[in-house]
C-alpha cells in the first residue's frame, strides 16, 4: 500500500477498514456533516431584519452619552467618592449634577422634561457611573428603571402630568416594598391600606428602603385586602410631606454607603384614591414587572463596579516591580488576570444582550436574571482578586479598591437575591423543555 507524505492512500476499502486506527475513523465522516449543519444555524437576515453587529455596537448618541457621563463622573463625582463613603452621605452637588445633565430622566419623553433616549442608554449611563461610584449609579438606576418606569407604564395622565416633570427636574422617587418580615417573600408584606370612602389609610413599616433620605415621592406597596393574599397588594403614590410618613435613621452599611437605606413607617397615612398607581390588587404584578428590567440595571451597576475596580488595578500591577519585573509579568498573575477579564467580558455581553432583548420587546426574564446573577458573582470575584493583586495597598482606604470590594456584596442580595435569580432561571428552563 503506497503512502504519500500527507496521509494514507486508499487502495481498497476493505483493506483500509482493517488498517485504519480507530481514532482516525471519524475524521473521514465528520467534516461534511459539520459544515452543512453549521450553515443551517445561520440566521436568515432577510426575515430577521436584525443586523448581526457585535453587542458592543452603540449608536452615535449612545457613544456621545457614554463619553459625557465618563467625563462627568471623573470630574464631578470621583473627587467626592471617599468623602461620601466615609460620611455615608450623598453630596447635594452630585445629585444636582445628575439632574442637570438629564441623567435622571433618560427615557422620559421630552414633554415631561426628559430625553427620550433608549433603555440601553440607561444601562450605559449606570455602567459608567458605577465605574466611579456604585452608590451614585444606584441612585441613577433606581430613578430611571423604577420610578420613571412605574409612572410612565401605569400612571394616569393626571399622575404623569403631576409627577413626571418633578422627577425629571429635582424629585427622587423611592420604592417601598420590603419589610422587616418580608424580603424575598415580598408578597407576605403586612403594611395595610384600609379604604375609607375616597381615600385609604396606610399603616405599617417598611425596611431597607433605598434613597429614602432624599426621596420626595414614595411608591408604597400595601395590602388593601389581606384575605385575598398577594392579590390585595396595591401600589400607592405618597408624597414625602404627607402626615404620618416617617423616614427613620439610615442604616450603617458595609457598602454603597453613600446611598441611604432607611426604615420608613406609616402611621395613619391618608392617601387619596387618585394616588393609586394602576389598579387595586395589581401591585404584585407591577412589582414583578419593574424588577425584571431593574435586574438589568443592577447587572449594569455590578458590571461597572467590577470594571472600575479592574481599571484601577491593572495599571498598578504593571508599575509595581518585584523580583526585577513588574507584578503583571509573572505568568501566575497573568493567568489570574486573564481569567477575571474573560468573566468580566462574559458578564458584559450577558448584560448588553439582556438590555437589547428588553428594548426590542422580546422575552428577557431568563436573560435578565442570568445577567444579574452572573455580574454580581463576577463583581465579587473581581474585587476580591483585585485586592490580592494590589497587595497591601489594596487593603488600605487610601486606594479605592477596598470600597469596590465592600460595595459588590449587595449585588448578590438586593433586587432579588442570587438564589431567587437561580430559581427564576430554573423556572424559565423548566418551561423550555
Amino acid at each position: 500500500m503506497a503512502r504519500t507524505g500527507t496521509g494514507v492512500e486508499i487502495i481498497k476499502e476493505s483493506q483500509l477498514k482493517r488498517n485504519m486506527p480507530a481514532y482516525l475513523a471519524p475524521w473521514r465522516a465528520s467534516p461534511c456533516v459539520f459544515r452543512s449543519s453549521k450553515s443551517e444555524l445561520m440566521p436568515n437576515l432577510a426575515s430577521d431584519g436584525v443586523v448581526c453587529a457585535p453587542l458592543q455596537t452603540f449608536t452615535e448618541e449612545e457613544t456621545m452619552l457614554k463619553n459625557m457621563v465618563t467625563k462627568f463622573a471623573q470630574e464631578r463625582v470621583a473627587p467626592l467618592v471617599q468623602k461620601m463613603d466615609e460620611n455615608s452621605k450623598m453630596e447635594d452637588s452630585v445629585i444636582q449634577g445628575l439632574f442637570e445633565q438629564g441623567l435622571m430622566s433618560i427615557e422620559l419623553g421630552e414633554e415631561y422634561g426628559g430625553t427620550g433616549a433608549s433603555f440601553f442608554s440607561t444601562i450605559l449611563v449606570v455602567e459608567e457611573l458605577a465605574k466611579v461610584d456604585p452608590a451614585v449609579a444606584l441612585l441613577c438606576e433606581l430613578q430611571n428603571t423604577l420610578t420613571n418606569k412605574l409612572f410612565t407604564t401605569y400612571g394616569t395622565e393626571e399622575q404623569k402630568r403631576t409627577y413626571l416633570p418633578r422627577v425629571a427636574k429635582d424629585t427622587i422617587g423611592s420604592f417601598c416594598l420590603s419589610e422587616a418580615g418580608s424580603g424575598s417573600d415580598a408578597f407576605s408584606l403586612k403594611t395595610r391600606a384600609e379604604k375609607k370612602g375616597d381615600y385609604y389609610i396606610i399603616n405599617g413599616s417598611k425596611m431597607w428602603i433605598s434613597l429614602a433620605e432624599h426621596a420626595g415621592v414614595f411608591f408604597v406597596m400595601a395590602n388593601t385586602d389581606p384575605s385575598l393574599g398577594y392579590r390585595g397588594i396595591t401600589c400607592f403614590i405618597v408624597d414625602r410631606d404627607t402626615e404620618g410618613l416617617h423616614v427613620g435613621k439610615k442604616e450603617d452599611k458595609l457598602g454603597i454607603r453613600a446611598s441611604s437605606t432607611c426604615p420608613v413607617t406609616f402611621e395613619n397615612v391618608k392617601v387619596p384614591e387618585t394616588n393609586i398607581l394602576g389598579q387595586v390588587g395589581q401591585g404584585y404584578k407591577y412589582a414583578i414587572g419593574m424588577l425584571n428590567t431593574g435586574r438589568i440595571g443592577i447587572a449594569a451597576q455590578m458590571l461597572g463596579l467590577a470594571q472600575g475596580c479592574f481599571d484601577h488595578t491593572i495599571p498598578y500591577t504593571k508599575e509595581r516591580v518585584q523580583f526585577g519585573k513588574s507584578v503583571f509579568d509573572f505568568q501566575g498573575m497573568q493567568h489570574q488576570i486573564a481569567q477575571v477579564a474573560t468573566q468580566l467580558e462574559a458578564a458584559r455581553l450577558l448584560t448588553y444582550n439582556a438590555a437589547r432583548l428588553a428594548e426590542t420587546g422580546r422575552p428577557f426574564i431568563k436573560e435578565a436574571s442570568m445577567a444579574k446573577y452572573y455580574t454580581a458573582e463576577v463583581a465579587t470575584l473581581t474585587t476580591s482578586k483585585c485586592i490580592e493583586w494590589m497587595g497591601g495597598v489594596g487593603f488600605t482606604k487610601n486606594y479605592p479598591i477596598e470600597k469596590y470590594y465592600r460595595d459588590c456584596k449587595i449585588g448578590t442580595i438586593y433586587e432579588g437575591t442570587s438564589n431567587i435569580q437561580l430559581s427564576t432561571i430554573a423556572k424559565s428552563l423548566a418551561q423550555e423543555y
Binding site: E60, E61, T63, M64, L65, N67, M68, K71, F72, E100, Q101, G102, L103, I106, E110, G114, T115, G116, A117
Partner: protein
C-alpha cells in the same frame, strides 16, 4: 450686534488620556482604533461662542472641522454642546491637514459664511503648533487676539484680554476678527443628555476641502515628518556637592 455670526473651529485629536505610541515606520503615531475627542482648547472656544449667543451678543454659532469623515462625530459633540449648525470640510483620506491647510479652508469658508468673529483654540494637543489662528488672520487680513483669557463684544469692536509672557494685555479689535482661546477663558460645559439628543436634528453640512482651497495652496505640503520616536527612558540624575562642582560638571560634559 444683531445677527452676529461666530465661526468656531473644532479639531478632532487623540484623547488627552491616551498613551500615544509611534506607528510602525516612524512616520506618525498610531491612530487606528485609538480614542479621539474634541481638542480641549477648541472646547473652550466653543464654550465662549455658545455663551456669547446665550448672552444675546451673538446670533448664530457655526462649528467647523477640517479633516476626514470621522470628524463628523466631533461636530456632533460640538452641536450637542450648543453650536447651531456644523460644517465638515472634508480633506482626502491621506491628506495632511496642517495649520496652513486648515487656515486656508477656514479662510475659504469665512468668505462664504461671512462670520463676524472666528474663535479657535490656541493650539491643538496633538501637534501643539499654535499657528492656525495666526495664519488665518493673515490670510483674511483681519485683526487677531490670541491667547484670549477674556472676550467682550462691544458693538463693532471686541475687547480681548490676552495672556502674554509679561502678564495680561488688553486689545480692542475691530470686527471681523480672529481670536484664539487660552486655558483660563472659561470652563467648558458638559453636553447634557437632552442636548445630545437634539444634536441629531441640527444641520451638518459636508463640503470638499478642494472647493475652499481653490488655488491658494501650493502642493506638495511644505512640511514633511522625517522621524518620530519615543523619548529615551529617563536615566538617573547625578548629585553634586555645591555650585562650583555643578559648574565644573556642566563644563566637563560640554553643556556650557
Amino acid at each position: 450686534m444683531a445677527g452676529l455670526r461666530v465661526l468656531v473651529g473644532v479639531k478632532r485629536v487623540i484623547d488627552y488620556a491616551v498613551k500615544v505610541r509611534v506607528a510602525a515606520g516612524g512616520g506618525g503615531v498610531q491612530t487606528q482604533g485609538v480614542k479621539h475627542s474634541l481638542n480641549p482648547f477648541c472646547e473652550i472656544a466653543l464654550e465662549e461662542a455658545v455663551r456669547l449667543r446665550e448672552r444675546g451678543a451673538a446670533a448664530e454659532v457655526v462649528a467647523v472641522s477640517v479633516g476626514t469623515r470621522a470628524c463628523q462625530e466631533t461636530l456632533r459633540t460640538a452641536l450637542a454642546v450648543g453650536a447651531d449648525r456644523g460644517v465638515l470640510v472634508e480633506a482626502g483620506e491621506g491628506a495632511a491637514v496642517g495649520p496652513r491647510e486648515a487656515a486656508a479652508a477656514l479662510a475659504g469658508l469665512a468668505g462664504r459664511l461671512r462670520p463676524h468673529l472666528v474663535l479657535l483654540g490656541k493650539q491643538a494637543i496633538d501637534d501643539d503648533c499654535n499657528q492656525t489662528g495666526q495664519i488665518l488672520a493673515a490670510m483674511l487680513d483681519w485683526p487677531q487676539g490670541t491667547f484670549a483669557s477674556r472676550v467682550e463684544l462691544e458693538g463693532e469692536w471686541v475687547r480681548v484680554q490676552r495672556e502674554v509672557d509679561g502678564g495680561l494685555e488688553t486689545l480692542r479689535l475691530r470686527l471681523p476678527a480672529v481670536l484664539t482661546a487660552d486655558l483660563r477663558l472659561n470652563e467648558p460645559r458638559y453636553a447634557t443628555l437632552p442636548n445630545i439628543m437634539k444634536a441629531k436634528k441640527k444641520p451638518l453640512e459636508v463640503m470638499a476641502a478642494s472647493e475652499l482651497w481653490g488655488g491658494s495652496l501650493p502642493s506638495p505640503p511644505r512640511l514633511r515628518v522625517l522621524k518620530l520616536e519615543e523619548p529615551p527612558p529617563r536615566g538617573g540624575g547625578q548629585r553634586v556637592e555645591d555650585v562650583p562642582a555643578l559648574l565644573e560638571r556642566l563644563r566637563s560634559s560640554g553643556r556650557i
